[in-house]
Structures are given as structure tokens and as C-alpha cells.
């Protein structure tokens, strides 16, 4: 049974330099490696958010899913099809909203829709008109005169008009004001989730993602550092306040993310917190647990520092007071 919309296995992608292969990747994985050994499965019908800082590799992953970049190693499958060997089949079945909306500025929305229609066998002109209306996109105005918000919503309408099974959005909320962002999220919730379509989108606005996504993946330096439902991630990643003595008594947690000093205690942020907290309970240790926002969790994964974890050889005095 194949219910996965996207399967990525041990994917590595690099940008080649020179050798006349222009932007193509090849086996040589040196300093140009952008994605490094990525594995990810996204079930059909899920809204999946890819989180990462600028340059983390979000757009590279999306371009690989679209068949615009070739993997240096590993396997990619989109809707059961290999985008590297059958890019046109893949692209006809997905809707894609690029990071920067570069649409023919001299055309109106209606003209652009008519221009795009022949490229897609499943294009539904009536649906395109419907979506323009629902999204409040002015159809008689040249695209260059549209606001940023209208342009993004026009892009979304055009990405949906061929009834794609999978929609890929590359940082769609970038540059939108908070109200337009909320409207855009509403459109996603109403037109994509409610219709059971798979949505894969990248973002760096974590508080937006939290409300809309089923699951998130944190991409950092070309590697996936955490994948899970937003609820599970918030349940597993906690900050625990304990004294240095307590930490010295027990083993270091496997998935330690960050340690900072807080008064005479240490604030320990870790993944897999519930099991570790159970151990603290068993040892009757004194501690306090803090819930974290997705923002704080992201930060812990991406820029967390663990040097302050007390070392037995350094002794307790270095930590306490």
C-alpha cells in the first residue's frame, strides 16, 4: 500500500562548480553539499512544514522534489514517481508556489490563467475563476500593479487550478503582513486541508506554522535534526531546571540540546524529556519543568550549546555559584 505523498531516503544534494554542468549536482560531495543524508516520509493528506534558517537547504530540497535538481545520492519519490527521471509527470500533478513570485508582470490574472491552462491536462478554468474570486484577486489588473498579498494569493490560486494532489509552497508567508498571513493560512486550511490534499511548505515563521501544520521538520545545515507532529515535539522537548549536583549524579541525556545557567541552577533543554524526568523522579531530585514554544524548541536545536553540562572531572564548584 502506498499512502506516502513524498518519500526521501538518504538524500544528498550538492551544487557543482564549473565543469560546464551548470547547477547540476554530481557525485563529488565536497564543500558544495547542501543536503546531507536526508530521510523523510510524508503521508498523503498531511500538512507538513519544513523549518530552517536562511541557507539551511529548504529551497534545495523543494527544487529536488520538483525534479529541478538531481540528487548526488539517495532516492526521492513524489506521488510514487521519481522526479529526476519523470519531472514533467511529477510537475503536472503538483501545485507549486515559488518563494519569489515572478509572473509575467504585464498580464492580468485572467490572461495568465489562460496562458498556463494548456500546460496542464487537468486545468479547470472555472475553478481558477472561482479561486480568484474567493481569494479576492483582482482579475482585470496587470500583475505588476497587484500588492504583495494579492500576488501571493494569485500564485496560490494558479497553483490549485489544475487540482493537484500535492501542493508545495516555498515560504509563502514571506513579506506578508500579519493580517494577510492569517488570511493566507485560512485559505490553506479551507482549500487544502479540508479537501484532504497533501501540503508541503517551508517557512521560517514558526508561530504561523504551529497552528497550521500537522507535522514539522527542522532542517539545519543540510540535515534534518527533528521530525514530528507539533504536539509530540512540544511534549518531548522541555527545559528542566536542576542543580549541577543532580546532573553529576546521573548520566548525560542522549538528546541534550542546550544548557544555560539560571541563578544557582542549570536550565537543561533536551529532547526525550519525559523519560529523563521520570529518572529525576526516581532519584527524588528537586527540579522544575518548563514548557517551550516552537520558537524556543527551534532555537535549542539550531543554536543550542551544551558546554555548560557539568563534567565530573571539572567538579561541581565550577558550575554552582
Amino acid at each position: 500500500m502506498n499512502t506516502a505523498a513524498i518519500v526521501v531516503e538518504n538524500l544528498s544534494v550538492g551544487y557543482g562548480r564549473g565543469r560546464g554542468s551548470g547547477g547540476r549536482s554530481f557525485g563529488d560531495r565536497g564543500a558544495s553539499t547542501v543536503l546531507d543524508g536526508l530521510s523523510l516520509t510524508i503521508p498523503a493528506g498531511q500538512t507538513f512544514a519544513l523549518l530552517g534558517r536562511n541557507g539551511a537547504g529548504k529551497t534545495t530540497l523543494i527544487r529536488t522534489l520538483l525534479g529541478l535538481l538531481e540528487p548526488a545520492a539517495g532516492r526521492v519519490e513524489v506521488l510514487g514517481v521519481n522526479p529526476t527521471t519523470q519531472p514533467l509527470v511529477v510537475r503536472s500533478r503538483i501545485g507549486y508556489l515559488a518563494e519569489d513570485q515572478s509572473m509575467y508582470p504585464g498580464m492580468t490574472a485572467d490572461e495568465l490563467a489562460a496562458f498556463l491552462a494548456p500546460f496542464y491536462p487537468t486545468w479547470d478554468a472555472a475553478l481558477a475563476r472561482d479561486l480568484f474570486q474567493q481569494f479576492g484577486v483582482p482579475t482585470g489588473v496587470r500583475i505588476k500593479q497587484l500588492s504583495k498579498g494579492h500576488t501571493v494569493r494569485l500564485g496560490l490560486a494558479l497553483a490549485l487550478a489544475h487540482r493537484p494532489e500535492l501542493v508545495i509552497l516555498d515560504d509563502p508567508a514571506m513579506g506578508l503582513d500579519p493580517i494577510t498571513r492569517k488570511q493566507f493560512n485560512r485559505d490553506v486550511v479551507e482549500h487544502l486541508q479540508a479537501e484532504g490534499r497533501t501540503v508541503f511548505y517551508s517557512s521560517h515563521l514558526l508561530y504561523e506554522v504551529e497552528a497550521v501544520a500537522d507535522a514539522v521538520a527542522i532542517l539545519d545545515g543540510g540535515r534534518l535534526v527533528r521530525v514530528g507532529t507539533t504536539e509530540a515535539v512540544q511534549n518531548d522537548v522541555k527545559r528542566v531546571l536542576v542543580s549541577g549536583d543532580v546532573l553529576l549524579a546521573g548520566p548525560k541525556p542522549e538528546k541534550l540540546l542546550d544548557v544555560t545557567r539560571r541563578g544557582d541552577r542549570l536550565a537543561v533543554t533536551l529532547d526525550g524529556a519525559p523519560a529523563w524526568i521520570e529518572r529525576l523522579d526516581a532519584a527524588e531530585a528537586d527540579y522544575a519543568v518548563e514548557d517551550l514554544s516552537l520558537d524556543e524548541i527551534f532555537e535549542a536545536f539550531v543554536i543550542g550549546q551544551t558546554e555548560l553540562w557539568p563534567d565530573r572531572s571539572a567538579g561541581v564548584t565550577a558550575v554552582v555559584k
Partner: protein, 158 residues
């Protein structure tokens, strides 16, 4: 039904929605046979994941607070004597524990004990200014006359 979501909070969205619907049912703001917005409506209104709202409704239904009537809609379940009261009492105990944690934090931040009542009074004032009065009034019994402030779908079967 009035629900407010705080994005970027350390409390997961699903827990925020769950707690607010539950509180409104247990305190009598929402009453038996009141209709709730559909999963899609509420998801759209809050701009929140459809599955999140669905899971919250399922959990509330499993706890006997609401009923998902196939092809008809979602309604507040008739009260089972005692059960809701016990839940309300438990929720209030939990609130007491949360308040303790907040007070501890305030003391940790150097807020003097005698200043605390003023903090509480100011918070209460802010909260009451934000939310229509008919929806607050803690500790008071369910009202007979209710203000018509629900979402259009709620209460259509009154």
C-alpha cells in the same frame, strides 16, 4: 462560542482550544444541546489545522462533554449528574496548582507578597475589559438569560 488562540505560546494550540471549550461547557456558558461550530468552520475561523480541531472535538466527545451527531452537527452533551461537577471541581483544583506556580514565579522575580493582590486586580481588570462580561463571572451559576454573542452557528437550535 468565543475562543482565543495565542500563537507562539508554550501551550500547544490543541490544548488551548480544548481548555477553552471545556471551561465554557463546565461553567455553563455553553449549555446542553447548544450547537458548536463544525470542525471546518472553527478551523477556518481560528486559521488552525483542521485535524487539530478534529482531535480536540474527538477528545471532548470521548469525555462525554460533546456529541458528534453524524450528518447533523456537534452539540453540547446533556449533563450527566455529578460527572460534570466532578470535572469542574478537578479543573478548579488544577487551576489552584497553576496559580501556586505563578505566585512562586512572582516571588522568584522579586515581587513583594503585599504587591500580589494589586497584580491580580490589574490582571482581572484587563481580562474583563477584553472578554464580554457575560462570559466571565467566575464562580457564578449558569445564567438563565444569555447574551447573543456566539458564532452564528452556535445556538441555532435553541
Amino acid at each position: 462560542m468565543h475562543i482565543r488562540i495565542q500563537r507562539g505560546s508554550s501551550v500547544p494550540i490543541s490544548r488551548q482550544i480544548d481548555a477553552q471549550v471545556r471551561a465554557q461547557i463546565l461553567s455553563g456558558v455553553l449549555r446542553a444541546e447548544d450547537q458548536l461550530p463544525s470542525v471546518r468552520q472553527l478551523a477556518r475561523e481560528l486559521a488552525v489545522n483542521v485535524n487539530t480541531v478534529f482531535r480536540v472535538y474527538e477528545r471532548l466527545a470521548a469525555d462525554g462533554l460533546i456529541e458528534l451527531r453524524h450528518g447533523d452537527g456537534t452539540y453540547v452533551a446533556p449533563r450527566r449528574k455529578g460527572a460534570a461537577g466532578a470535572q469542574l471541581a478537578r479543573r478548579r483544583r488544577e487551576f489552584g496548582a497553576e496559580l501556586d506556580a505563578l505566585v512562586r514565579r512572582a516571588l522568584m522575580l522579586g515581587v513583594a507578597a503585599e504587591e500580589l493582590p494589586r497584580w491580580l486586580a490589574e490582571s482581572l481588570e484587563r481580562v474583563q475589559r477584553e472578554i464580554p462580561p457575560a462570559e466571565t463571572s467566575p464562580g457564578d451559576s449558569p445564567k438563565r438569560e444569555r447574551a447573543e454573542q456566539d458564532t452564528p452557528s452556535a445556538g441555532t437550535r435553541r
